[in-house]
């Protein structure tokens, strides 16, 4: 089994200490943090599916995997940050109300910071009011990222996007949506400014937006 596969397995079985030491080993052996994340970690979470018969997830197991995943992210995080500390601006980030999934959102946070954003992470289960308040409290923010993993929380997401648009009369904000339950089509319908399927692309797109707005 390759080291990357071993990392994936350790996450699947929630063996967080093993995940940590394997990631450290992989880094020592010269694997790139992006590769570890892309090939060993994200697919691990993605492969945790609901039982096809009962359509129930083994939640204790999923929680264990999410925990191991987070431990791994904590190790990779500092190694993914760019050395040349450029500062692109501030991004506000959160998972929508009713939704407690955070893994994807945390990866988005890491990716945004890696390209040079300062990230204000509001956490999970964030209402439209809390998003609007954050934007009001941080007039310097140029990007807002809203994450949603549950189809049932899409109406909340729509409310949030609309509230942000209503607040942002001068159209300064770049409102991005993503997460497992969102598609390009859904994003367009709720009039978000952008959607991407993964976190890295989201960060590049946000960077392009900021650079276009204020070319050096």
């Amino acid at each position: 089994m390759s080291l990357i596969d071993e990392i994936l397995q350790s996450i699947l079985y929630g063996k967080s200490k093993v995940t940590e030491s394997l990631i450290l080993q992989a880094l020592e052996e010269g694997y790139q943090p992006e590769q570890i994340l892309r090939e060993g970690m994200v697919p691990a979470m993605g492969s945790m599916e609901a039982d096809s018969k009962t359509s129930q997830m083994d939640i204790p197991r999923v929680l264990g995997a999410a925990r191991a995943m987070q431990k791994g992210l904590d190790i990779l995080d500092p190694r993914l940050q760019s050395e040349k500390r450029l500062f692109l601006g501030t991004a506000i980030l959160g998972t929508v109300k009713g939704d407690l999934h955070e893994v994807g959102k945390n990866i988005v946070s890491i990716m945004f910071r890696s390209v040079g954003f300062r990230v204000i992470d509001l956490g999970v289960d964030i209402s439209e009011k809390q998003f609007v308040k954050a934007v009001r409290d941080h007039p310097e923010a140029s990007v807002v990222c809203v994450s949603s993993l549950l189809t049932t929380s899409l109406p909340e997401m729509k409310k949030i996007v609309q509230a942000l648009k209503k607040f942002d009369k001068k159209k300064q904000l770049f409102v991005m949506v993503g997460g497992g339950s969102v598609t390009e089509e859904i994003a367009r319908q709720m009039q978000a400014d952008a959607y991407t399927e993964n976190a890295a692309e989201a960060a590049y797109l946000a960077r392009a937006f900021v650079e276009k707005k204020s070319p050096q």
């Binding site: 197991r61 407690l100 999970v124």
Partner: protein, 515 residues
């Protein structure tokens, strides 16, 4: 005290050169020492010293024995038994020792038995004197030379003895967020839950805790509620340890179940008063309020109630204590206790000095990672509604989980309307309660394919604004007005009386609920 081959071997190793071993670990616990004699029958459950290179003939031994043989048999130059010895496979555990006299072997074996005998005697004494589990662990330090911890089922520490600072070993030993995280990881680990059934020692999941520990379950009538763990910190855990730990365990079991006084929680008095408030309907409220005041919970303070429901299927492993302790530690002014299979938390928000928003934010990941479902009451000042707040929090959770099973955290605001509707339809179904005109309108729609119900609903939703309503329905304003005219006619109402409008609105909800 009876000892196993592994324990004896461990001590023989310190004094002799071991040439060979067979079937180590097979002997079971042994009574004592005998010398092998050609003409005597084998006695199961004993150690046999076979001196001077003698080897019992094939078929002599039984499985539950331990043979200590000396070199002769393995010596190729000994023409008699050497080859036999080499070829001979024993049915029981056996060890071959280089160049040793019978007497020397006997001395070491006797010393070993004596050493553990004394240990057993002190443990007996502690037990008879109603001593504590801690004393037993202390007396066992010289045996194990490693930290020993008695864990509760939820992996919180009941008792420990250690020469090293355990908080430097793992966050598991230090109250706080990291500890809670690790406890959750353990509770949710399949292997960990399976281990609870083990009858023999097993290794705990170091891939979560970060340290190696040999556990032995402490059981009462087949149910495990504690485990005794030997942490591998000061020296490697040996094979002998694996046989000695169950011995200590059986002693500890006796004292724990003999005098377990349960949890010692500082909040006990608050807990008692609050439990009374929840359970005793005849309670003298003024008296309860006075008690609360004495405990620092004042009448002009604001309170919130939060109910947690545990979602674990395995009722035995409910981490109730650790959750209550965590809540009490994390939030000052919080009293958390288990009540009717749930965990009830009351928070004195004035004492807590954190606003509810912040408390909620901090609790979200905790609730999720502990796999709890939670319901909040509203915030109320004073003591008189504490019981009602508990009911409110429970309703948030009940109705919320039913209406939105995918949500794990529920607030009363979100369930108030569904709850009210549920309540008013307890005697009569919604249809029987609804506005008659509206029922006629529905029938008209069904018979004629009109969209009057939708039109009226839109009109009410837009605060009776015709322009907005027409826009939402994608119809011309005059079309809309015409429809409204027909609706008034069918319902035989001018749709102006506020009470009637409220009734119609309510009827819409009742009918929706029935669909």
């Amino acid at each position: 005290m009876k000892l196993t081959d592994r324990i004896l071997l461990h001590h023989l190793q310190d004094h002799f050169v071991i040439l060979d071993t067979q079937n180590t670990g097979k002997s079971g616990y042994l009574e004592g020492i005998l010398f092998y004699e050609e003409d005597q029958e084998a006695c199961p459950g004993w150690v046999y010293i076979c001196g001077n290179g003698r080897v019992p003939p094939p078929g002599w031994e039984t499985e539950s024995m331990f043979l200590v043989l000396t070199e002769g048999i393995m010596d190729p130059e000994d023409p008699g038994s050497a080859d036999d010895g080499k070829k001979r496979a024993f049915r029981c555990s056996a060890v071959v020792i280089r160049k040793a006299r019978e007497a020397a072997i006997l001395r070491i074996l006797m010393q070993t038995f004596r050493f553990y005998e004394m240990w057993g005697e002190s443990l007996d004494k502690i037990q008879l004197g109603f001593g504590s589990a801690e004393e037993m662990l202390k007396r066992s330090v010289e045996i194990f030379s490693n930290p020993m911890v008695i864990f509760r089922n939820d992996m919180t520490v009941r008792t420990f003895v250690s020469r090293v600072d355990l908080s430097s070993v793992s966050p598991l030993f230090e109250p706080g967020r990291e500890q809670m995280e690790m406890l959750n990881a353990l509770m949710q680990n399949e292997e960990f839950r399976r281990n609870r059934q083990n009858q023999t020692p097993y290794w705990g999941p170091d891939y979560i805790t970060g340290f190696r520990a040999l556990h032995c379950n402490i059981q009462k009538m087949g149910d495990t509620s504690y485990s005794l763990a030997l942490l591998e910190i000061e020296r490697p855990v040996t094979e002998a340890d694996k046989d000695l730990l169950p011995v200590l365990c059986s002693y500890v079991e006796n004292v724990i179940y003999g005098n377990d006084r349960g949890l010692n929680r500082q909040n006990e008095n608050l807990q008692k008063t609050l439990t009374n408030i929840l359970s005793d309907r005849t309670l003298d409220y003024m008296e309860a309020s006075r008690e609360l005041t004495e405990l620092g919970w004042q009448r002009d303070h604001a309170y919130v109630c939060l109910v947690f429901r545990l979602t674990y299927l395995d009722q035995n492993s409910l981490p109730v204590n650790s959750i209550c302790n965590y809540m009490d530690e994390q939030f000052s002014g919080c009293c958390s206790f288990s009540f009717r299979e749930e965990i009830v938390n009351f928070i004195d928000l004035t004492l807590c000095q954190e606003d509810l928003d912040r408390i909620e934010t901090r609790l979200k990941p905790f609730i999720r990672d502990s796999y709890l479902k939670a319901g909040y009451s509203r915030v109320v000042t004073g003591h008189l509604n504490l019981r009602r707040q508990y009911v409110q929090a429970g309703l948030s959770l009940d109705v919320g989980s039913r209406k939105n099973p995918y949500l794990w955290i529920h607030h009363f605001d979100a369930v108030a309307i569904p709850y009210i509707l549920e309540q008013i339809t307890r005697k009569l179904p919604g249809q029987m309660l609804s506005h008659e005109g509206l029922l006629r309108l529905r029938d008209h729609d069904r018979e004629n394919g009109t969209q009057y119900m939708e039109t009226l609903k839109t009109y009410l939703d837009h605060q009776e604004n015709a322009v907005q309503s027409a826009k939402t329905l994608f119809i011309h304003r005059s079309t809309f007005l015409y429809r409204m005219e027909k609706i008034r006619e069918i319902m035989d109402s001018d749709l102006e009386d506020p009470d009637e409008l409220l009734y119609i609105n309510l009827s819409f909800r009742l009918l929706e609920q029935e669909e």
